[in-house]
């Protein structure tokens, strides 16, 4: 977290710079795009997990201390990332600080831990939160938490 607050913090993050070479701090949309292209796509486990999920629409409201609020959408199965508000009710809404968002995508912070500690506000279908956690964990090579029987991977 502290690492992300340093000046030009993103310039030594390969997963970001391989996707875009901007002089200024990337937007949340840039970060999510970089995460999908450079991390998720590079992980066979993450692709496999995402492929077993039903369609998910996740709406992030990312709050930057200077730039303000940014609204982005992640769709899983099929994958898509776009800016703005979703037109349909999202499966999951997450309101998160920009730097925590960057740390989460970079594998430094656990999304569920942040939810339970109150750092992230989550609303909607919690199973989608678990799906997102699985995707994040798989993409950085962490072991996936075995789901409870009734809410196993792929449950709508």
């Amino acid at each position: 977290m502290a690492e992300e607050r340093k000046e030009d913090w993103w310039k030594d993050k390969a997963w970001i710079t391989q996707y875009l070479f901007k002089g200024e701090e990337p937007t949340a949309f840039d970060l999510l795009g970089a995460f999908v292209c450079n991390i998720v796509m590079g992980s066979p486990e993450a692709i496999l997990i995402a492929g077993n999920m039903p369609p998910r629409l996740i709406h992030f409201v990312v709050n930057h201390p200077k730039r303000g609020s940014e609204s982005i959408v992640l769709m899983m199965t099929p994958v898509a990332v776009f800016e703005g508000e979703p037109e349909e009710e999202p499966d999951l809404g997450l309101e998160i600080d920009y730097y925590k968002f960057a740390a989460m995508l970079g594998g430094k912070e656990d999304v569920m831990d942040m939810v339970w500690s109150g750092e992230v506000t989550m609303s909607g279908n919690t199973v989608v939160g678990m799906d997102l956690k699985d995707l994040l964990d798989a993409s950085i090579g962490k072991e996936i938490i075995e789901r409870p029987a009734a809410w196993t991977i792929g449950v709508p």
């Binding site: 039903p54 898509a80 339970w116 500690s117 609303s123 938490i145 809410w151």
Partner: protein, 638 residues
């Protein structure tokens, strides 16, 4: 005036705008079309893939056992073919008994001919808790179930008095010495006087000891030194009855104080009421003091009597309010915080917050959750639904009894709760949840969705918990219990119960059903933030007369779940009183407060022997002759 642009710039801008618009349209179109297509076709197909997983759940097996049919199947093909009441052994027995009684007494009795003949559905058997005992629904009516009666009696016939003030009076004002020897002699005398044995042994009407064999008194103290000096029969052995960590905490809290818990005879309390308990105990305790310490005529006796009746006395229930007026020690007056102290289900578990159980393994977390359900289902549900609502408030058939039975049928509730424990153990990993609403709401939505989904997937579960009150009760209890267990906050627990019923359940099903009455739940959320006595206050201090709460059959358990869950969530050894907690660990009690549903199940199969029976003074005769106007009455001349 518009901006002057060159031809080249205008074309460039036009191309850029077209590109931007096309990009937006493409993003929007591809996004939406993918979503719509997938949602209409995939979701229902996807849900079909998980039927095999549902069949692996414990609740599937429980439903199969209860119904003897496919739990996920929505059609009851045996409807109208079960033979109505004839499918129940108990109801057939009742019909035979009704006929016999009618013949014997010359007045009609139980007769199904006078009622509305429903009964095309299955009268399902009820597995109680997870003790492997199945009873019929009728067996859980409090009039048929001696264990539920004894639960009621054992609470109402208990009163606890402190001896420190009395001992000080003896030492300072009468100059008597209080030693282990005098204390043991006093306790021996007390066992005699509690059964209405006379100490001034002349011209006194005493009671047949067989009638009052359930009358006794025991010391409660936290001091090992005092206990060492006492006869082992006369005190409650905290170290043996509680987990060592709990015993340590309880002993520290009680300290060197000496309390005595009195058990007034069941029969005496039943003839009078709970208020008689304090009077009987104070009277007989004063007599024991007079005899053991050889007091006569001193003015200190009136002060002793005052101390035992009013000064440092713990009654199990407060006096009730005007419109429901009753004395102390009645079920409606029990403070909510005493119920977790009366419940003993957790007493052998290690003393630690629930989230720490989660760090150990799934089984430990599930065990703690199961114990909470055992206590809530076996004691709180009986006190509130069966006894208070179904007996004091309504009587007769006890319509709210059926709601209580949904809490008894642990196979269904605990399966859901243990699955949730499993979920929590995996995702929380021992982290204490801050008592913040935004966080708890996420958790509650998850739990409420889970329970709602389970009802929807299992038509048999929805049929088992057939009324709105049943489902409201389960939803509120699960919501309150889980939140309280995770946060250790009873206010958060009750808040969560309110939210689960009034918001989550209402949003999920658009109705809460009979006993929903969620207006109080809506009020509960803001009101619980207040500390004014008639609004929020400590939830442990609430009771049946707290104004801003729904007292429907669907709401009783959630109050107890919030308090008991919070106690376990905090890792506390007691809720409101360590003395009350120890008092109900007494192994001499007929009702086992550690295994309440086991007692109720045993009573359902007629294997529980209650106290307070009058066999010693009744004639040996056929059951049909008892209590019926008999020929003997005709022989008595007017």
């Amino acid at each position: 005036m518009g901006e002057e642009l060159s031809e080249e710039e205008r074309i460039k801008r036009f191309v850029e705008e077209r590109k931007k618009k096309a990009g937006e349209e493409r993003t929007k179109e591809s996004g939406m079309s993918a979503r719509e297509r997938d949602y209409t076709r995939e979701l229902y197909r996807a849900s079909q893939k998980f039927i095999d997983i549902e069949k692996g759940r414990d609740i599937y097996q429980t439903m199969k056992e209860i119904w003897g049919a496919e739990p996920l199947y929505e059609v009851d093909e045996k409807m109208y073919h079960r033979g109505g009441y004839r499918q129940s052994i108990r109801k057939k027995e009742f019909i035979d008994a009704g006929k016999q009684i009618a013949i014997k007494r010359g007045l009609p009795s139980y007769s199904r001919a006078v009622g509305l003949p429903v009964g095309q559905r299955m009268l399902e058997p009820m597995p109680v808790g997870k003790w492997g005992i199945t009873i019929e629904q009728d067996d859980s009516h409090h009039m048929n179930n001696t264990a539920i009666q004894q639960l009621n009696d054992d609470i109402k016939r208990t009163v606890i008095m402190n001896l420190d003030l009395a001992h000080r009076m003896l030492q300072v004002r009468v100059g008597k010495e209080v030693t282990p020897e005098t204390l043991n002699f006093y306790m021996e005398t007390l066992q005699h006087t509690m059964g209405a044995g006379a100490v001034a042994q002349e011209h006194m009407n005493e009671v047949n000891p067989y009638l009052v064999k359930d009358a006794w008194a025991k010391i409660i103290t936290g001091s090992d030194e005092i206990m060492d000096g006492l006869d082992q029969r006369y005190y409650i052995h905290i170290d043996e009855l509680f987990h060592p960590d709990r015993a340590k905490a309880l002993k520290e809290a009680i300290g060197d104080s000496i309390w005595v818990v009195f058990r007034v005879p069941t029969l005496a309390m039943r003839m009078g009421d709970g208020e008689c308990t304090g009077r009987w105990a104070a009277m007989q305790n004063t007599m024991a003091f007079i005899s053991a310490y050889q007091l006569s005529g001193e003015h200190v006796i009136s002060d002793l009597a005052y101390a035992f009746k009013h000064a440092r006395v713990i009654h199990m229930g407060d006096k009730l309010w005007g419109s429901r007026v009753r004395g102390r020690n009645e079920i409606g007056g029990i403070p909510d915080g005493f119920i977790p102290d009366i419940i003993q289900c957790e007493r052998d578990l290690p003393l630690m917050p629930y989230v720490e159980y989660m760090t150990q393994d799934d089984a430990a977390a599930s065990k703690a959750m199961t114990r909470m359900s055992e206590g809530i289902g076996g004691i709180a549900a009986m006190l509130d639904n069966t006894l208070w609502l179904g007996f004091y408030m309504s009587g007769g058939i006890g319509f709210s009894n059926t709601v209580a039975t949904s809490a008894l049928s642990g196979g269904a509730n605990e399966d859901v709760l243990s699955e949730f424990s499993n979920l929590g153990a995996k995702y929380l990993r021992g982290k204490l949840i801050p008592a913040k609403w935004d966080i708890m709401k996420v958790m509650l939505n998850m739990v409420a969705t889970y329970v709602i989904e389970t009802y929807e997937k299992f038509p048999t579960l929805a049929e088992l918990h057939w009324g709105g009150a049943h489902k409201t009760s389960i939803m509120g209890t699960v919501g309150a219990g889980v939140s309280a267990m995770l946060t250790g906050s009873s206010t958060m627990g009750l808040w969560a119960g309110n939210y689960t019923i009034a918001s989550a359940m209402k949003e999920g099903w658009l109705r809460t059903g009979w006993a929903g009455q969620e207006i109080q739940d809506h009020m509960g959320m803001p009101y619980l933030c207040s500390f004014r006595p008639e609004e929020g206050n400590l939830t442990e201090m609430h009771g049946e007369n707290y104004p801003m709460h729904s007292f429907s059959a669907g709401h009783g358990n959630q109050r107890a779940a919030a308090n008991y869950g919070a106690m376990m969530g905090r890792g506390s050894a007691w809720c409101l009183s360590p003395v009350v907690k120890v008092a109900f660990a007494d192994p001499h009690l007929a009702f086992d407060f550690r295994r309440p549903r086991y007692c109720i199940a045993k009573a359902g199969i007629k294997e529980f022997m209650p106290d307070g029976e009058r066999t010693a003074i009744t004639p040996a005769c056929d059951i049909l002759d008892r209590g019926i106007l008999k020929d003997t009455m005709k022989e008595i001349p007017f």
